[in-house]
């Protein structure tokens, strides 16, 4: 009897690439990038904290675009991608909040502060948690997809607010590190730190696409199982 091929065989290239990337990112962050003079070694949280935030924004942008496309085309594939992307985005937002809290405890001596960036990020987390709750509601998939698409578009409004919050409300705790002009308050980034950050962002982005691909295949298999079970029921009457 011939053995069935693993469904994960398609990841034979991406998984080693991802593992090598993660090892590279950790090496750059811990060994190669310099220790921040003011914040000390704890600043090294920054690389994965920012990379996670970037991925959360990317994931929610995908939800936003796919929600618009679903409402326009009514194609279930767009709804599937939106749902999977929201789940991954919520995971990365959780990482951002948790690591931010640890960094805050070390730098500001508090676990949490109701300053603009933290507050808007927490709102973002709640919005996408609500989005996933809508997706798990027991209504027909068309209705659920329509509702969640509308909510996915509305929830995305918070993403630029999170990004711009420290510029608009002049946060005292969160410095503006990137960009130029009067708003900048963080003193810029060392070129080695910037390169490390860009590498971490690239590796985390690859992880996002691997997870997105897995999620889409999982949802499609779930739909296929439902369809086959319905066919089985129609032919045999099992499950009546």
């Amino acid at each position: 009897m011939k053995a069935r091929k693993s469904i994960l065989r398609g990841e034979r290239v991406t998984i080693p690439l991802l593992v090598a990337g993660m090892i590279g990112a950790l090496s750059l962050a811990l060994l190669w990038s310099p220790v921040d003079v003011r914040l000390g070694i704890v600043q090294k949280i920054f690389y994965f904290h920012v990379a996670s935030a970037w991925n959360a924004f990317l994931a929610f942008f995908v939800v936003f675009v796919m929600s618009i496309l679903y409402l326009w085309r009514r194609n279930r594939a767009f709804d599937i991608v939106a749902g999977v992307s929201a789940e991954i985005g919520l995971l990365f937002t959780t990482i951002v909040l948790v690591t931010g809290s640890i960094w805050g405890r070390s730098s500001w001596n508090v676990w949490w502060s109701w300053e603009p960036r933290l507050t808007t990020s927490l709102i973002l987390w709640f919005m996408y948690a609500a989005y996933l709750m809508i997706r798990s509601s027991a209504v027909s998939w068309e209705k659920r997809a329509r509702l969640s698409s509308v909510f996915g578009i509305i929830a995305f409004v918070d993403v630029p607010i999170v990004f711009m919050s420290i510029r608009w409300w002049r946060s005292k705790l969160h410095p503006v590190v990137f960009g130029s002009g009067a708003g900048r308050s963080g003193g810029g980034v060392d070129p080695r730190m910037l390169l490390t950050l860009l590498f971490c962002v690239a590796v985390f982005s690859l992880l996002y696409f691997v997870l997105l691909n897995r999620g889409i295949r999982t949802r499609k298999l779930g739909i296929e199982i439902d369809t086959i079970k319905r066919t089985l029921f129609e032919r045999t009457g099992w499950g009546a």
Binding site: I45, V98, T99
Partner: protein, 56 residues
């Protein structure tokens, strides 16, 4: 300082590894389930064709 860094890194890679393993496990389980149900469907078709008046 070091304890905060280690905690943060452990949480980041712990969360990601757990989610990564969970998605892989779920995908493999569903793939197996689809294969089993498809086989069942084929068997039913086979039995139905044999028991029908036109069958062998």
């Amino acid at each position: 300082m070091m304890a905060y860094l280690v905690s943060a890194y452990s949480l980041i890679f712990g969360f990601l590894a757990a989610y990564f393993v969970w998605t892989g496990t779920r995908l493999r389980r569903l793939d197996r389930e689809v294969a089993v149900i498809r086989e069942m469907l084929t068997d039913i078709d086979h039995v139905a064709s044999r028991s029908s008046p036109d069958g062998q």
